[in-house]
Each structure stands twice: as structure tokens, then as C-alpha cells.
């Protein structure tokens, strides 16, 4: 597909006086996309808008080239949705639930049952798939929810907090599964407030805060653009901070004795080198700080 997988233009949703999503404009390519933000940031509202379950107050959104407002059923036909909350009928088996939902997505009955078997295999539900869901662990239920989202072979999977409630091993297994889906050519929009999850499996990140776009970009770009250079000299770090300040650079002493310098351009690195030389300091380390998505989120949201 040539165009972006997701395109939102001025997407706004208000509920009475509350603005859940405020003028979101993004183009997101196919791949594994992290949608991150604190609770109430607008992630679930964005999902509901993508599924055509609620209408935008302003703006528009497209999924795989389909205008959701004009053809919500067509857009839903391209999506698989895994909600955060419990949503499985516990008196039925995973096989029956997944097959039924495959049929509801338009698959013929025999194909739906075969697909149900395949995707339950894929998510690692073996013989348990024939037992009623009421006996399943949280991890098995999450896998069943993922399987039902996959059964109709969607172009884009919407995963809402897929690791919620899982123990560390279960979380790793789920993230591994999500990462594998990318390898199978299925795009994933992973909504979470756990930035570690996104950093681990996503190649594109959309950050929301209070309904507004904080930043959208590739994970690598965002992690590289910390804009902070770490300089380690001997115990005369204070002198270096003062020297850099005289040359117009903002620097602070870190708790470990290193100096963190806000360096936006390559020329700033030359200034740092020159100041160190002028002060006659031994240069132990000069490196760009590798950040985390938490840093990016906190810095961008604050600004």
C-alpha cells in the first residue's frame, strides 16, 4: 500500500465540555505502531473513532485508504480489535468464540473454524481451546482475545493494553507474539501506557497527552533525538558547567558527577570540545545520551 496506513486530519472528539481528542493530525505508515499516553490521553477514543463506533466532532480519519466516516463497516472489515477489558463469554470454548467471531466478520463457516484453529495455534492455545473459557488464566484469555482479533486476517490490529494483568513471563510472551505479527506482514497499533512495551516492539510511536499529539515519529528517531550530550571529566565538572554557560550552552551536573549538556546541533559538540580544551580538563567521555521513551514523553509533554 503506497499511502499511510492511518491518516487523521484535525481529528477532534468532544463529549459535552470534555475534549477527548484535540485536533489530531498524523500520517502513520504500516508497521508496528505504539500509541502511548497516560490514562485519559485519548487512546480509547482514538480506537473508537477508528472502528467507526463514534463520530468525530471535527476532522476525519482513514484506515488503509478507507474513510471511516463514509464507510465505517468497510473500515471495520480491515481491522482486528483486542479490547483491554474482559469481553469473552465464559461459558463457551475459545474455538467456538473465535470461530463465531470469524463468521461475524464475513468468513464462511468452514473457513472460520479452520482459521480459528490456526490462530489459536499461533497464539499458543493448545488443547485448552476446547474447554470453556471460565477455566482460563489471564494469559490464556489475553491470547484468546488476540486470536479473535486475528481470525479474519485484518490489515491492522488494534491492541488495547495487551499486556495488562500479565505476569512478567506472560508479558514477554505477549510482546514476542506482537513482534512476530509484524514479521507476518500484519500492522499493529499498540495502545499502552507502558512505554517499555512500545520501545521493545514498535517501530513507530504516536504519543498523546490530554487528547493532543505530543509527537509522532519512528522509535529510532525519537530515541536518538534526546538532544543531551554527556561529558565526563575529572572532578572539575563545576568549572566545565560555568565555561559552557559562558559560551551559551545549558549544562547541569548529574548525580554521578558527569555533565549533561543540551546540545541541539553538531556545532555545539565543537563548542564542548573547545571549552574542555581551554580549561585543560581531561576528557574521559563525550557521548550522546541514549534516552528512553519515558524521557521523550516527559520532555515533550512538558514543552
Amino acid at each position: 500500500m503506497a499511502g499511510p496506513l492511518l491518516r487523521a486530519a484535525g481529528l477532534t472528539k468532544r463529549f459535552g465540555g470534555v475534549t477527548a481528542l484535540d485536533g489530531l493530525t498524523i500520517d502513520v505508515p504500516a508497521g508496528r505502531i505504539g500509541l502511548v499516553g497516560a490514562n485519559g490521553a485519548g487512546k480509547t477514543t482514538f480506537f473508537r473513532l477508528l472502528l467507526g463506533l463514534t463520530r468525530p466532532t471535527e476532522g476525519s480519519v482513514e484506515v488503509a485508504g478507507v474513510d471511516v466516516g463514509a464507510d465505517p463497516a468497510g473500515a471495520r472489515g480491515r481491522l482486528g480489535y483486542m479490547p483491554e477489558h474482559d469481553c469473552l463469554p465464559t461459558d463457551q470454548s475459545a474455538t467456538d468464540v473465535v470461530a463465531t467471531l470469524g463468521e461475524l466478520a464475513g468468513l464462511p463457516a468452514s473457513a472460520a473454524r479452520q482459521r480459528a484453529s490456526e490462530v489459536l495455534d499461533l497464539v499458543g492455545l493448545d488443547e485448552a481451546r476446547f474447554r470453556p473459557i471460565e477455566g482460563y488464566s489471564t494469559g490464556m484469555r489475553q491470547r484468546t482475545k488476540l486470536a479473535q482479533a486475528l481470525v479474519a486476517d485484518p490489515e491492522l490490529l488494534l491492541l488495547d493494553e495487551p499486556t495488562a494483568g500479565l505476569d512478567p513471563l506472560g508479558r514477554e510472551a505477549m510482546l514476542d507474539l506482537v513482534a512476530r505479527l509484524g514479521g507476518f506482514g500484519i500492522s499493529v497499533l499498540l495502545a499502552t501506557h507502558l512505554l517499555d512495551d512500545v520501545q521493545q516492539v514498535c517501530d513507530h510511536v504516536v504519543m498523546l497527552d490530554a487528547g493532543r499529539l505530543v509527537v509522532s515519529g519512528t522509535t529510532d528517531e525519537l530515541l536518538e533525538r534526546t538532544g543531551v550530550v554527556v561529558v565526563e571529566v575529572d572532578d572539575r565538572g563545576d568549572g566545565l558547567v560555568a565555561g559552557l554557560a559562558r559560551r551559551g550552552l545549558t549544562a547541569t551536573m548529574a548525580a554521578d558527577g558527569s555533565v549533561e549538556v543540551a546540545a541541539a546541533a553538531d556545532a555545539d559538540l565543537d563548542v564542548i570540545r573547545d571549552v574542555v580544551a581551554e580549561l585543560g580538563l581531561p576528557l574521559h567521555r563525550l557521548s550522546t545520551r541514549v534516552g528512553t521513551l519515558d524521557d521523550v514523553f516527559l520532555r515533550r509533554a512538558a514543552s
Binding site: 472502528l51 472489515g77 469481553c87 467471531l101 479474519a152
Partner: protein, 296 residues
């Protein structure tokens, strides 16, 4: 010597689906099918199978007994040995009422309670599709449960008729359209009321009690008003159990049966039709309103 293990574990990965896909109509048909399965207890435990099939059995008993008696007495001059008439068989059994109170909550309440609806509406289905599929499934089951015993009765009577099957068919040809029309009206009525009330709660027991309560209380209220001096026969339409029977009489007789007090009222038949339409209309509106899930 034991053979070396030869088993291999394959990661079968993921296979994209490139087969046929139905549209919304296929999705609605699938929902009807899964609702029928659930209502009849198919792929469920024996406890969930027992009640619906028992109720169907109870509904069919009068037809079987009637045919049996007709067979036994076929060579006697007695002509009036008849337990049930085609008209009287439409809506005579409280088993249908129990069936609605049992099944309508079972096919709606768990979907909302378990939040399964969020998965249903992530498919190319609208709230209206969902409500109409449920109505079609339950209405269809009620139709089948009411109609099949009538078929048994008709075919049985025809086969044991003294004067031959063709004579029976000729003499009773009118019921061939009267029975399905009257049964369809009855099925729509009960399905609409049952599903509308069940849609208002997430608890099956509350929904079942509400369905029985509303229908039985309305009957009691009409009875109390009937006993009151000077009460108009028009108050009879408050009896929700009687309303589909008025329609049945209009189909079979072209008028209300004299046994109904409403027949004493000028325009009683029209009032009965209006009452039927209002009850079905309000029920459907309630049902659709409760499943206005998708705004789009």
C-alpha cells in the same frame, strides 16, 4: 534398541486468508445462526438443551393426542372428538410464554454482561443489524415451535381422515394461509416484547421475571378492570396476553370471537390492531434504542 526420536516441531507461522468474504448480510446470517444454536442449547451442556426441547415437546402434545384420537375413532360415526382446533392452537400454550422468558434473556443479556458486544461491533455489523438478527432468530424459533405442531396436526388429520386426504385438504384449505399468518403475528409479538424487556438488563433472571411479570400483570390488571362496574370493554387491550389472540381471530374469523369482551365494542377489532401495532412498535423501538451502539 530404541529408535531415535524423529518428531519435529514446526512453527507453522501465520497464513493470510485470501478466501471468500461475505458482507454485512453474511455477518447478520452468522449472528442469526449462532443465536439459534445458543437458544436450542447446541454445543452447550445438556441442562441448556433440556428446557427448550422440553417446551417444544409440550407444545406438540395436543397435536399428537388429537391425531391419535382421530386415528382411533376414524371408523366410528363420532365426528366431534377434537381436542384442539387450528385457531385455538395458535397461542394456546403457556409453553411459548415460558420459552420466550427463558430464551430471550439468554441470547441478549450475557453479550452485554460479558462485554462481548465490543467484539461484535468491531465487525462490519451495526447495532440495528444485531437487534434485527436477534429478533429474526427468536421470532423464527417461536414460529417454528408454533407452526410445526400445527403441521403435525394437519398432516395427521389429513392422513387419518375417513373421507380421504384430498377431501380433508379441500375442506380445510383456508388454514393453509391462516395458520402461518396468525403464527407469524404471534411470534413477532412475543419475540419483540421478550427481547425488548431482556435488552433493558444484563441479568437473565431479572429479564425472565420481567417478561413473565409484565405479561401476567397486564392480564391481571385487565381482569380487575373487567370486574369493576362500568369499565369500558376497551380496557381489554391492556391485557397483553390477549392482544395477539385478537389478531389471530381476525385472521381466522375476520372478526373478534364473541367470547372476547372487546367484541362488544364498536371498532373493537380496529382497537385490537392498533394495540398490537403499538406494543410491537414500542418494543422494537426500545430494542433498537438499546443497541444504538454504533453512532455512525
Amino acid at each position: 534398541m530404541t529408535a531415535a526420536p524423529t518428531g519435529t516441531i514446526y512453527d507453522r507461522g501465520y497464513r493470510p486468508y485470501d478466501g471468500a468474504r461475505g458482507g454485512r448480510r453474511a455477518a447478520v446470517a452468522a449472528l442469526v445462526k449462532s443465536t439459534l444454536r445458543r437458544a436450542l442449547g447446541i454445543r452447550r451442556s445438556w441442562r441448556q438443551k433440556f428446557l427448550p426441547w422440553m417446551l417444544l415437546g409440550i407444545v406438540a402434545i395436543p397435536a399428537l393426542v388429537n391425531v391419535g384420537i382421530a386415528y382411533v375413532t376414524r371408523d366410528t360415526p363420532l365426528d366431534a372428538v377434537r381436542i384442539v382446533t387450528y385457531r385455538g392452537y395458535v397461542g394456546h400454550s403457556s409453553s411459548l410464554l415460558l420459552f420466550v422468558a427463558l430464551v430471550a434473556p439468554d441470547v441478549l443479556c450475557p453479550d452485554r454482561r460479558s462485554r462481548f458486544l465490543s467484539l461484535v461491533f468491531a465487525r462490519p455489523l451495526s447495532g440495528t443489524d444485531y437487534a434485527l438478527a436477534k429478533l429474526g432468530a427468536i421470532g423464527g424459533l417461536l414460529f417454528a415451535f408454533s407452526f410445526l405442531p400445527q403441521v403435525v396436526l394437519y398432516v395427521g388429520q389429513m392422513l387419518v381422515n375417513r373421507d380421504g386426504a384430498i377431501d380433508y385438504l379441500t375442506a380445510n384449505s383456508a388454514v393453509l394461509w391462516q395458520v402461518p399468518v396468525a403464527v407469524a403475528l404471534l411470534s413477532l409479538y412475543y419475540a419483540a416484547i421478550g427481547l425488548a424487556l431482556a435488552s433493558l438488563t444484563t441479568r437473565r433472571i431479572v429479564a425472565g421475571a420481567s417478561i413473565l411479570g409484565v405479561l401476567l400483570v397486564s392480564s391481571s390488571v385487565a381482569g380487575i378492570l373487567r370486574a369493576a362496574e362500568g369499565a369500558s370493554p376497551a380496557t381489554e387491550v391492556l391485557n397483553l396476553l390477549a392482544v395477539p389472540l385478537y389478531l389471530r381471530d381476525l385472521v381466522f374469523l375476520g372478526r373478534l370471537d364473541d367470547g372476547f369482551r372487546l367484541s362488544q365494542l364498536d371498532g373493537g377489532a380496529a382497537l385490537a390492531v392498533v394495540a398490537y401495532l403499538v406494543v410491537v412498535g414500542v418494543s422494537l423501538a426500545t430494542l433498537l434504542w438499546r443497541y444504538r451502539w454504533s453512532e455512525a
